[in-house]
């Protein structure tokens, strides 16, 4: 049975001093850095989405409290600016 080959991601390097472009496989170090970058990005995204969700929840809560006080949707919209 033939062995499955794992395709190594490549990068294209454009040398602006010569105009030449080359395609090279990522090194072990670059692959590790790529994974580190990806995980850092996922963590940042998770934080951002959690903050957005918390903000949306707080806004919905504030709107329902304002409605309970008798404000109309137009008045609430005016408050939000």
């Amino acid at each position: 049975m033939a062995k499955a080959t794992v395709e190594v991601p490549t990068k294209v390097i454009v040398d602006c001093s010569t105009g030449e472009s080359t395609i090279v496989p990522l090194t072990e170090e670059e692959l590790a850095q790529r994974e580190t970058d990806r995980l850092a990005w996922e963590a940042q995204e998770a934080t951002r989405l959690a903050e957005e969700e918390a903000k949306a929840t707080a806004e919905a809560s504030a709107i329902s409290k304002l409605e309970a006080l008798g404000l109309t949707s137009e008045e609430i919209a005016a408050l939000k600016g």
Binding site: V12, I13, V14, C16, L26, R34, R38, A40, W41, R48
Partner: protein
């Protein structure tokens, strides 16, 4: 504004890197037309200057085509392009402007972009960024977050030169 180099991928690649950027101009302008293999309608591209993601800050204003735009901050330069499940054959378009790239003062940058998707959600973004570094910019790279740019993705690098009277020369 003069084209330094442009690269259109003939096959998928994880990153596109420009090296040995000439130091004979004032500003840089980059256009990116890209789509990645990310299994979503969008992907985030990591933009490295001189190979690093440190000493960077960025603020983004993002609209989705409906609802209230949001703002966010990050400590590295990232921007949105089209992912694999967006409408077929569409690409995200971004422009990056970097003034005074050869100087020894900190580097500011501006990114503006749109994504394409025949649905209610498509992104429009404005970013302001700061790289705290006294080094001149000699290399730039663009990478998906663990994904590949698809064939046909294009990145072009331009330079803008200031004339002796301080105004930009258009040639």
């Amino acid at each position: 504004m003069k084209l330094i180099e442009t690269k259109t991928l003939g096959s998928a690649a994880a990153a596109i890197e420009f090296t040995s950027i000439p130091q004979d101009a004032t500003d840089l302008y980059i256009t990116i037309n890209a789509r990645t293999t990310n299994a979503a309608t969008t992907d985030s591209v990591l933009f490295k200057i001189n190979g690093v993601t440190t000493n960077q800050s960025r603020r983004r204003l993002q609209g989705l085509g409906s609802g209230t735009p949001t703002s966010s901050t990050t400590t590295s330069f990232q921007f949105t392009v089209v992912g694999d499940t967006a409408t077929s054959n569409t690409f995200g378009n971004a422009g990056i402007y970097i003034p005074n790239y050869t100087g020894s003062t900190n580097k500011s940058l501006l990114i503006d972009l749109v994504t394409e998707h025949n649905s209610t959600t498509a992104y429009q973004e404005l970013h302001s960024g700061l790289l705290s570094s006294s080094s001149a910019i000699t290399s730039l790279s663009f990478e998906g977050q663990g994904t590949n740019f698809v064939a046909g993705s294009t990145v072009s690098l331009y330079k803008i030169t200031k004339g002796s009277d301080g105004t930009t020369v258009v040639s």
